[in-house]
């Protein structure tokens, strides 16, 4: 089954003048694949990721995730869709500083409301343990290091067991040790849990170790 399929995507920016960022981009990603998107700055790789994330809806073409066509849905429908099916890890962790780590992880699940609060909390504590952060549950997000915060952000992305996990430079702010930890987590999720990982990265080493690389140049896929 296709986890994600992208059909003839065109995207324009209108800053100063009309500028085409993405040109006829086409690809499919299978379930359980760990894909890296690489390319130089300005190649359109981040832009592509935000289109896939459903947050940017201003494009031509069609995107379907997990068999659902997301193109043309309303903002509220897309918000609900992201909540249930997509997990995000950004370069910066974006944790809510006044909340404890467990509460931060719980937020997407509390929105989804599929499980009781106790179950969600149990799962959040379990995820923290899985990411080797046992004992930090009640710490405030403002009080931990960048590497730890990024792991908490990953736990938050995983709380609803999303089909697709998207990362925008997920290791961009991390040292090599933490990068290795994050990479291993992603690989484990893709190969053992069957979750699809799509990560935009500058880190060639990170990309080389992933299952598949999509390279963009000037808005076109040049290498698959």
């Amino acid at each position: 089954m296709k986890a994600l399929s992208v059909n003839k995507i065109n995207k324009y920016f209108y800053v100063a003048q009309k500028f085409q960022v993405l040109k006829e981009v086409n690809f499919d990603i299978n379930q359980g694949e760990f894909v890296s998107i690489i390319g130089k700055s300005g190649s359109g790789k981040s832009t592509l990721l935000y289109l896939l994330s459903t947050m940017d809806t201003d494009y031509e073409g069609a995107i379907s995730i997990n068999g659902t066509t997301v193109t043309g849905k309303s903002q509220n429908e897309l918000a609900a869709f992201r909540n249930a099916h997509i997990g995000f890890v950004f370069q910066f962790h974006y944790l809510l500083p006044e909340f404890s780590l467990v509460e931060n992880i719980m937020l997407p699940a509390l929105k989804l409301k599929l499980k009781s609060k106790e179950e969600i909390e149990h799962r959040a504590v379990e995820l923290l343990g899985m990411l080797d952060m046992k004992g930090t549950e009640l710490k405030k997000a403002a009080a931990i290091s960048g590497g730890q915060a990024q792991r908490v952000a990953i736990a938050r992305a995983l709380i609803n067991d999303p089909a697709v996990i998207m990362g925008d430079e997920p290791t961009g702010n991390l040292d090599s040790r933490n990068t290795a930890i994050v990479f291993d987590i992603f690989k484990e999720l893709a190969h053992n849990k069957g979750q699809t990982i799509i990560a935009v990265t500058h880190d060639d080493e990170f990309a080389q170790k992933s299952d598949r690389i999509i390279e963009l140049k000037d808005g076109k896929i040049i290498n698959e």
């Binding site: 947050m55 509220n76 918000a79 609900a80 909540n83 995000f88 974006y94 997407p108 509390l110």
Partner: protein, 413 residues
């Protein structure tokens, strides 16, 4: 839903100082609203009370000017004749209310009426030695008069009720007594327009606060007034009526139309300036206090706007995680509503305290020796409702702005 409230709560409690400032501005606005309206309504009532010491809510009297003088010769004469009347004299057969008994009886059945006082009002000359001064004499039934005008409260020397016991007793306005140069216990002589004359003993002095009244008014018993004017037993010139709500005097007067053919006059008819002065004061205090509330609203708007800008990254990530625009509106609107509710309740308490304290400031007006303050539930309800509506509006615009945050532009940087 619960999660949204939890986030709103954490936002609120993590910025205690801003929260306190916003809350206090609402508190201040609402307490001022309550205080100003309580004060103005107290002042208005004190004014009205002073007015009603000499003015009844409804007055029944024989309106001479409204009646055509009797015509002895018809204007059109049959045949070839011409009628000319030069120097016609105005002949009136009735003066005052000749037989008040049946009218008083009918009035007693009216529910809205709380007091009925028959009076004989005439102009008299008061003589004290060579000093001779004209005064407005009222002959009254002491008990009934007190029910309508609370006259006993304004008798500063002596006792109003002593008039019942002294057939020759008289109570003078304080100013009038000064002009005459008399004090309680002195004797004076009254002469009526019809020529009757009678001696009275001063048993009390009256001070209403309205100088014009205090300088001209004299009160005797109804019987003594009839005697002085040589009138029959059931004769009165005015029937003064008090109703339970003086604002409804016009309505009550209209409902009495069938009772008598004499003129029935509600107080508003001759005193529209009082009514409009009261209304103007209400409008002014309302405008000022609403302005204060609106300023408080701008304060909240400002603080909520700052919060939204401060939390814009969190808003973006919440939206990325799947929180809808509606969730974001709830998160931020809840904050301003909490500010409004807390500030509002504190404002009610503070407004009440300020009002109570003001009620202790010494000031002589009417029968009161302190500043007049009214405690109307409606002022409190209205102040609270206005406060909530304004904080709601002030919070809605920043919240709606927050809900429109585009997560892509924020997260990409």
């Amino acid at each position: 839903m619960k999660t949204n409230y939890r986030i709103a709560w954490v936002h609120l409690t993590s910025r205690f100082r801003q929260l306190a400032v916003a809350t206090l501005s609402v508190t201040f606005g609402i307490s001022m609203f309550i205080f100003m309206n309580s004060f103005i309504s107290g002042v208005n009532e004190a004014q009205t009370v002073i007015t009603f010491t000499s003015l009844a809510h409804i007055r029944i009297y024989n309106d001479l000017s409204a009646r055509e003088p009797a015509k002895l010769i018809p204007d059109t004469v049959a045949g070839n004749a011409l009628s000319v009347v030069n120097n016609a004299r105005n002949i009136r057969y009735t003066e005052g209310i000749k037989d008040a008994g049946p009218i008083l009886k009918a009035l007693k059945k009216q529910k809205a009426i709380t007091g009925i006082s028959p009076q004989i009002n005439t102009n008299v000359f008061i003589q004290n030695g060579v000093t001779q001064i004209s005064a407005a004499l009222s002959g009254v039934d002491v008990q009934k008069e007190n029910k309508v005008f609370h006259t006993a409260d304004y008798v500063v020397e002596g006792d109003f009720f002593d008039l019942q016991k002294h057939p020759n007793g008289i109570i003078l306005g304080k100013g009038l007594a000064q002009i005459l140069g008399v004090k309680v216990g002195d004797n004076i002589s009254l002469t009526s327009a019809s020529g009757g004359s009678k001696n009275f003993t001063i048993i009390g002095l009256l001070e209403t606060g309205a100088t014009g009244v205090d300088r001209s008014k004299a009160i005797v018993s109804l019987l003594a007034a009839r005697q002085l004017n040589s009138k029959n037993k059931s004769y009165v010139t005015d029937i003064q009526i008090a109703v339970s709500d003086y604002n409804k005097a016009q309505k009550v007067a209209a409902s009495m139309a069938g009772i008598t053919s004499y003129k029935i006059e509600p107080w508003q008819l001759g005193n529209s300036q009082l009514d409009s002065a009261n209304k103007l004061r209400y409008i002014m205090s309302f405008v000022i206090s609403v302005t204060i509330l609106i300023v408080a609203g701008f304060g909240i708007y400002n603080i909520m706007n700052m919060t939204v800008n401060e939390k814009i990254k969190e808003i973006a990530i919440l939206k990325a995680m799947g929180y809808s625009g509606r969730d974001i509106v709830i998160i931020f609107l809840t904050q301003s509503i909490v500010i409004g509710l807390v500030g509002g309740i504190l404002g009610l308490v503070l407004g009440y305290i300020i009002s109570v304290c003001t009620g202790y400031i010494p000031f002589r007006i009417a029968t009161s020796t302190t500043l007049p303050i009214n405690f109307n539930t409606s002022d409190y309800v209205l102040g609270f409702v206005f406060g909530i509506v304004i904080t709601f509006l002030a919070g809605y615009f920043p919240a709606s702005k927050a809900s429109k945050v585009d997560p892509v532009t924020i997260i990409r940087g």
